[in-house]
């Protein structure tokens, strides 16, 4: 085994400042890093900039000052497509990340679009559908299923890419108790594989049970608990 990257850091956030409008700074000089295999929780009141922070670490937004590094590379120099191969990002509103006519196509999209054979795609999709207990919804439209089901479809379509890091914006919203427990189990099983996870959430139970580390945002600043 050769160690190419000796460091265990996956995402490094260096002195990042961000504002949508000049007059209102949302995040001020945030510096932190996230490791492989780590389970971090990002909490804070509504409007404190959690979603914004998540988008900065996924390259959807660019920092006004400072930089974000993913596996040591400046995120500005990585295309969204390449980031998507490494980082699985769950939108706060999962409906915004679904764009296929059926659940089956939605989950298989990444593979079928890149020209993988039908059998392989089908096999992978079926496995994931079982994992997220989406049986029976294969041919439903992602827009005409329940909130919790949609959340699971979005998660499933991320997981099929086998990302090496996850940023999940309020993943437990809309999930019932059983599904929440299943998500806990699933995320826990990923950690030993070295997959790092950042969960943005207001769900205290879920965080207390799973997170190794809690970062709170308020007033544009980070407070490590």
């Amino acid at each position: 085994m050769k160690e190419v990257c000796s460091s265990n850091t996956f995402i490094e956030v260096n002195n990042v400042t961000f504002s949508y409008k000049k007059s209102e700074i949302i995040l001020k000089n945030i510096t932190t890093s996230f490791d492989k295999g780590e389970f971090a929780a990002l909490i804070g009141p509504n409007g404190s900039g959690k979603t914004t922070f998540g988008k900065l670490m996924t390259g959807i937004l660019s920092a006004n000052e400072g930089s974000v590094f993913v596996e040591g590379k400046n995120i500005e120099e990585i295309s969204l497509g390449n980031i998507g191969k490494k980082i699985g990002y769950l939108f706060q509103q999962p409906a915004r990340q679904l764009f296929n006519p059926t659940v089956k196509e939605e989950i298989g999209f990444a593979h079928s679009f890149m020209g993988k054979s039908k059998e392989i795609v089908e096999q992978k999709v079926n496995k994931i559908i079982e994992e997220f207990s989406l049986q029976g919804l294969e041919d439903a439209s992602p827009y005409r299923i329940s909130r919790g089901e949609r959340q699971r479809v979005a998660l499933a379509s991320i997981f099929i890419n086998e990302p090496s890091f996850l940023i999940l914006d309020e993943p437990t919203t809309g999930l019932d108790i059983v599904r929440k427990e299943q998500l806990s189990q699933l995320l826990k099983s990923l950690q030993p594989q070295g997959i790092g996870i950042i969960v943005i959430s207001h769900d205290k139970d879920f965080i207390n049970k799973n997170a190794d580390r809690v970062i709170e945002l308020y007033g544009g600043e980070q407070h490590e608990a």
Binding site: L80, G81, N82, Q97, L98
Partner: protein, 242 residues
Amino acid sequence: MKLDPRTKLVMVFSLSTLAVFVVDTLLLSIVLIISIIVSNFFKEDWGFLNRARKFILLLVGIAFLQSIFSPSGEILFGIKDFTLLTTGGLAKGIRVILRMLVIIISATIMKGSSPREIIQGLIQWKVPYEIAFMVSLAIRFIPILGQEAKDAFTAIQLRGIEIDKLSLTKRFKVYSYMFMPVLSGVIHRAKELSTSLEARAFRAYPERTSYIKLELSKNDLLIMSASIVFTITMLVIYILLR
């Protein structure tokens, strides 16, 4: 000074009418300068002009196309016998840009009024409420649709699709995927909105009362008539000069 939205509408309408009808470069420049002064008066931010730098490219493109296909004036630039740029072509390009700038800049005059005020203005001008309401819905939803299309584009890429490396046909396919969520969002929202309108008894009575009532001040009337007189004068001058 706070102006009535109707006054602003008249100003925007006057300026853009001039921009459309006047073909003279000098007069167009004057109209542009006036638009800039008026818009500045309302302290609109000009950040959007930064994004409009592409206009320069458009200007260059139009100037060349006009010169090649309908040469007029003196030849400025050519390769052997083939005319590439003429004074006439350049002038046409400049005029197109001037026009666009007048329309865009004068439209920023409206930005200070809330959509609600604009609707109220339209209603008091006897535009039927339903139509005014539809206009307000459009104003409210267009930015949301734009955001949704953008989100979909981001989401597609985040599935690991590198747009830059795709062939042209595949790239078009990606764009076609962007319409799905937007379209379904529109239909969904329209349904919910109509239910919600029914639930709140929209059009239950033939007459609607308004909480806000706009009144034209002396200033409004003055500015409105000045705009109209100015526009007519400019048009007359322009026609006489021809």
